[in-house]
Homo-oligomer: 407 residues x 2
Amino acid sequence: MGYALTDVLADRHRRLRQALADRQLDAVIVTHLPNIFYLTNFVGSSAIVVLTPRDLYFITDFRYVTAVEDSWASPSGCPNASLVRVETAYDETLAGLLRFVGVRRVAFEAARVPFAQYGRWVSGLGYPIPGTGVVDPPAAARDDTGQACVLVPTERLIEAERVRKDAHEMATLRHAAGLLTEAFERILAEVRPGRLERQVGARIDWILKDCGFDRLAFETIVASGPNGALPHARPGPRPLAAGDLVVLDFGGVYDGYCVDLTRTVSLGRPDARARDVYAAIVEAHAAGVAASRVGATAWEIDRATRGTLERLGLGEAFGHGTGHGLGIEVHEEPWLLRTQAQPQGGEDEKAGAPRASDVTIESGMVFTIEPGAYLPGWGGVRLEDDLLVTPDGPDLLTHVPRELAIR
Amino acid sequence: MGYALTDVLADRHRRLRQALADRQLDAVIVTHLPNIFYLTNFVGSSAIVVLTPRDLYFITDFRYVTAVEDSWASPSGCPNASLVRVETAYDETLAGLLRFVGVRRVAFEAARVPFAQYGRWVSGLGYPIPGTGVVDPPAAARDDTGQACVLVPTERLIEAERVRKDAHEMATLRHAAGLLTEAFERILAEVRPGRLERQVGARIDWILKDCGFDRLAFETIVASGPNGALPHARPGPRPLAAGDLVVLDFGGVYDGYCVDLTRTVSLGRPDARARDVYAAIVEAHAAGVAASRVGATAWEIDRATRGTLERLGLGEAFGHGTGHGLGIEVHEEPWLLRTQAQPQGGEDEKAGAPRASDVTIESGMVFTIEPGAYLPGWGGVRLEDDLLVTPDGPDLLTHVPRELAIR
């Protein structure tokens, strides 16, 4: 597939510039790497982008200078970009650039920038910092050109664009989901009594790479028998045994985009309870997919799956949300959660966009539907697919059979 | 090996409490997951810890409550801990806890906490936030008990402890490095002409897991022929060819601790230039190891390797630092860099500890020595081992032969 072409990047820049203009912002400092990838196709680990109404300044260090310059000469090169090489420290280079460019109201990604880094920027721009170490941002300070420069905290400036996939992203995600579908057939053959969970996990990881994924989207889950009751189980030393239900949850990154699939496999003929729980999950999954239409709110989709499980006596067994957005990040907007107020924070979500579930579903959104039932002491079932919302309704991207696989 | 025993955790808490007392701090909010693991053995993805002179409050959500409570009953359980369950949002729960506990000067990890999260804490504690969105922390505000509560930005409070490994950590790192040594013999057999870099990479990842690592410490590097000139090359579609030098850089995480190894392999007999460059790297590596003694500064170790390469005409070819600390994170203190002022920032280092190279080497530090030479158009060589600094000198933890492996 390859990365987004220059014209696609230019469109993204245009939309972001419009968002800046709408908010009376003169520039934005982008530090969140997935957002930098979205704007420039950069896949390295250190860079800062400053987008102004006319220019894109790309700050990076010697490790990436050659690769970045080469990429700009390609059909996927970042348009109208100027390379700014870091000589001593990123934050110092950034402050110097902002003074040089002479912009007044400069947005930054408040959910991504650590307090201490913000302090270094403020300090680099010449703001006072009291001896206590507490940053005290003034309303404005003068830069070299005599203009005032103010750092304005923003959230979701770029994420709000990323939530609707463009044509390049839809095609990449569709292709990646196709690879994941293919991978599953090979993965299924690895699920055998006697194998340890962690051995099966390592096989899955190997298969994903062999199918063409650049890397794993997250740590693979193999949760067998009673371990299936933990939604976040890690593959451990437990050998798979006849009679187990085994939850397999895995995903890959392809050309920068993440896909994610869960299937539950029965080792031997499932008993009546396993069949009942599985059937309930299939029904909840179908309800979630059917509800994934333009104009619905995210919590309504959650309600569709959760309501089904509640009606079937499994409401208490379903402790997490119905799904999450997919794209450059494996967990991104939209969040399909029960209510607006969900636990958030901790390292993995601390920088997260608001996890509000009152977002309205739009065409071009891509997300998972993944109802599950977790019964302590017994085990668990989860069924997860990826879908794209189109004007005509939900379009499933993953195509693995949804009936219970028996091995 | 298992996780640190309760007594080890208690020692860590004692040292941290002393550090708080030394700074007239009454508590610390810990949000950086590696630091939370260091204090509690928690391996999940969402938690906040508040350590006070007498108590440890562990804030987490429903996903982890059962696992945390179970772990506390084990020999590796966190001592004197109270579980605080998140009902709506982590930041709200934290603010409520701080008001309840009634502490006055509360440290937070300024390099880890996003500006927006800090804003939510300040807001939750009842501080004013102007309509601009800019956080305006007052000197103090009253909590429920009438005491004043101030958030004090700190850096390296826990990292300063983690830089010297305790006995549990040394034993774990030694065992993990032994596993990595074993893995290398199997990995070497996978390096064959005709195989694609990405196939070799996937085999390495499989072998690491099969050897007992919980997960990869970072994305494996397989850089063959001219690709070896890029220190951060990703395994790509290039087939290995006779005459190539192939740089293999890989690592694993074992019981929470990271180890990291690089070897360069020659496919077929190396030519004179390859032999010369390789010999220079071996000499620089030996100089770096020999310099890794108690009382040296980090930049002196870098000088030892870099000086060797400069003398041998390869100074320009060595663009990165000599090494980095290893522990709960695969890149942590100490940083063995050329000077104090090195490029830093970007996503991977934005929250990083100061990368100063004037740190003095102490007994118990564990880090890599990894000189390399990168020659555009030709290729590269890198040689990396992990060592522990002891009062008797450097103790290599990885034991793979350092002569050029020929396949």
